[in-house]
């Protein structure tokens, strides 16, 4: 591996760690404002990673992807989220199902777990960015954990968005991104999925007068 590759590897791993850390910040903070801000910064770091890989990997399509990421996930979606929590429900997450200190320790364990299960991937890959792959899978697991352990519907949506960021990071690090057309389709789907979730949160608020998912427990046997 020549020195250019070495610098590339370091920077890529650095950016991926930032993306992961902003994801873990979701488990630390309590207010929805902080969640949205963490998501914004995470998407920015993700776009930076894409641009970095585009530069070092000589793939111009990734610059386009980075720009779309910024427009979609740093501007549009956080804007919708802000409007959502201003109109619906309070700004604080209620006591989550798992308390914060335990959540943080669990997230550390999840990342260690992801290191273990992605061993074969890291050994197989010859790309300079392979060291960041465990971080991407770790972010996926952290996203799933946020969805499970949070009580407000809005926090669950943000957990889902973080999960998607993790998968995008995995695609970037593992395969230098996927073909542009597909990427566009994925973005469109993500946007539509988010809009539908948003619509549903409004509907939940209208029918239940709250977005605490503890209220959503009428359906049993």
């Amino acid at each position: 591996m020549n020195s250019n590759d070495a610098i590339f590897a370091q920077l890529a791993t650095l950016c991926s760690s930032l993306v992961l850390l902003f994801g873990i910040a979701l488990l630390w903070r309590r207010s929805l404002v902080a969640y949205v801000r963490a998501f914004r910064w995470q998407s920015l770091a993700l776009a930076l990673t894409f641009a970095l890989i585009g530069y070092f990997g000589h793939n111009r399509e990734l610059y386009v992807v980075a720009v779309i990421l910024i427009v979609l996930k740093v501007v549009i979606i956080p804007g919708y989220l802000t409007r959502l929590y201003e109109r619906v429900g309070g700004k604080r997450e209620a006591q989550p199902y798992v308390n914060i200190a335990t959540s943080l320790i669990i997230s550390g364990l999840l990342v260690s777990l992801s290191y273990a299960i992605t061993r074969p991937l890291v050994t197989v890959s010859k790309l300079p960015t392979r060291n960041g792959i465990p971080l991407a899978v770790g972010l996926i697991l952290v996203g799933v954990f946020v969805i499970i352990s949070r009580r407000k519907a809005l926090s669950q949506i943000i957990g889902f968005l973080v999960l998607e960021n993790g998968i995008a990071l995995l695609a970037a690090l593992g395969t230098y991104g996927i073909p542009l057309i597909v990427e566009l389709g994925v973005f469109l789907d993500a946007l539509m999925g988010f809009l539908v979730m948003q619509i549903l949160v409004y509907q939940i608020n209208d029918t239940f007068e709250s977005i605490d998912v503890e209220q959503l427990s009428r359906l049993r046997h």
């Binding site: 299960i117 074969p120 395969t175 597909v182 994925v186 549903l200 939940i204 359906l219 046997h221």
Partner: protein, 485 residues
């Protein structure tokens, strides 16, 4: 050309429903007629594939392709869609929905059908994924049609679990593509099924194993494999009957199709029984959970949902039992599509009559509405796997394959669980059919002319049970030939 005939009718229907304000019944009739075009195109594809001809391609980068497996699924989805659109609310019969709701229903259900058809005709892995995500979105918008508390709750759970599943499936897709970059650089059409299959033997088994786990969990969430099935009872119970019918028959089939496609690639790469064992394990888990959940269910719509999970388990078994098992699984899929779509319409009718979907409150069905009751009983007996219906044949083929593959204990356990489910179904069915009807229920059939298509569906089931129609058999054989290569 045939592809356009397959896909465009539902798009046009959606557009028509969007444009026409306020909703008129003619829109519904037109959409039902247009769906016949899709069904025709699908049958042509099926005939084409049954004759063993080369799979037709379409679109830039060979976007769409109709080989045997796709054709079979196209027929299933198109047939279920036609039935659904014919029996939809607002199509000639009285209904409790408002005009705005009916319009929304027509737009969304046609878009839903379009995305399902796109998913089965896509040649590109990623396009299939995008189409499946689209189905989640459209169905999630459609479930809370009446904006009641329980339907909003059901829809929220459905979209959250479904989206997480689809996202994980995408991670699996990326991992499947992972080796490509390592092996061949960024090739054109790298995400097409034939290209994947061609390069599969050279891929690293460990990477493919991880990818398959993600894919199974992801698409399995859409299909309702336990333990990712928790959204099913809620969603099927609260959705409008037409949507529930389509979701439980067609969408389920499309999700299993996705799993089967990836399994073929994974088997070529992994070269041992890893994927088979995973499917067998999850199949057994689904059967177990379904059997015991049916025993506890108090609501007949949720009972049907658990029956779906039970059949999911059986089909997973089939997929994990080699070529003969896949044959049985596909046959089972066809039968299941026919039976399930019927059942939810009947359940919807019964609910409208009795005002509740609790089993305890639904008594004396045979006296109050003999045709509905009779068809419901026939459908449920079919779902339980009794002769002379088609499910009996496919389950028999499944177990034969299982014993041939030397899994006697597994098959024994499965039979036991089926027995548990059988007993639960029979007790509830008896409760519903016989006894005294509650006083406020008006006696008299409400099903009207719609009994004709339903009867057609039931007769199809019997036909499939008494014989295995030659075209179907040839098609399945062709599929087996391409799968085991």
């Amino acid at each position: 050309m045939k592809f356009l005939l397959l896909l465009l009718p539902s798009l046009i229907s959606a557009l028509g429903a969007y444009v026409v304000r306020p909703y008129r019944a003619t829109v519904g009739w037109l959409n039902a007629l247009l769906s016949l075009l899709s069904l025709g195109a699908a049958l042509v594809f099926a005939g084409h594939a049954a004759r063993g001809a080369e799979a037709p391609l379409f679109g830039p980068g060979e976007l769409l392709r109709a080989d045997g497996l796709s054709a079979l699924l196209m027929v299933c989805v198109a047939a279920a869609s036609t039935l659904t659109l014919t029996l939809s609310p607002g199509v000639g019969t009285e209904t409790d929905y408002t005009h705005a709701q009916l319009r929304r229903y027509q737009i969304l259900i046609n878009l839903f059908i379009f995305s399902m058809l796109l998913a089965v005709s896509a040649n590109n892995v990623a396009v299939m994924w995008v189409a499946l995500e689209a189905t989640t979105i459209f169905s999630a918008l459609l479930i809370p049609l009446t904006r009641s508390k329980s339907s909003v709750e059901a829809s929220w759970k459905y979209i959250l679990i479904g989206s997480v599943g689809i996202a994980l499936a995408f991670a699996g897709t990326v991992l499947g593509y992972f080796d490509f970059v390592a092996l061949t650089g960024r090739a054109e059409n790298a995400l097409n099924w034939p290209a994947l299959l061609q390069n599969a033997p050279a891929m690293h088994p460990e990477v493919m194993k991880l990818a398959f786990v993600f894919l199974l969990v992801g698409y399995g969430t859409k299909a309702g494999i336990a333990p990712m099935h928790t959204w099913k009872p809620d969603a099927y119970g609260e959705a409008p009957p037409a949507l529930a019918a389509l979701m439980s028959s067609a969408l389920f089939a499309v999700a299993m199709y996705a799993i089967l496609r990836w399994k073929i690639v994974a088997d070529a790469a992994i070269k041992d029984h890893y994927a088979d064992n995973l499917l067998l394990a999850l199949g057994l888990l689904s059967l177990a959970i379904a059997a015991f959940s049916v025993a506890q269910s108090r609501n007949y719509k949720r009972m049907l949902a658990y029956s779906s999970v039970e059949h999911t388990g059986l089909i997973c078994f089939g997929l994990g039992l080699g070529a003969a098992g896949v044959f049985a699984a596909l046959l089972h899929l066809v039968n299941h599509t026919a039976a399930k779509s019927l059942m939810f319409f009947l359940a919807g009718d019964i609910e409208r009559k009795y005002g509740s979907s609790a089993v305890k409150q639904t008594r004396g069905l045979l006296k109050v509405a003999p045709w509905t009751g009779g068809l419901f009983a026939a459908g449920l007996l079919a779902l339980m796997g009794l002769p002379p219906f088609g499910m009996f044949i496919s389950e028999f083929a499944l177990f034969r394959a299982g014993f041939a593959q030397h899994h006697p204990w597994l098959m024994g356990a499965a039979l036991l669980l089926l027995l548990v489910a059988f007993v639960s179904f029979i007790t509830r069915l008896n409760n519903m059919l016989y006894g005294e009807a509650p006083a406020e229920v008006a006696a008299g059939e409400t099903v009207g002319w719609r009994v004709a298509p339903m009867l057609l569906g039931a007769l199809a089931l019997v036909a499939l049970g008494l014989t295995l129609p030659a075209p179907l058999e040839t098609l399945l054989d062709q599929i087996m030939r391409s799968v085991s290569r």
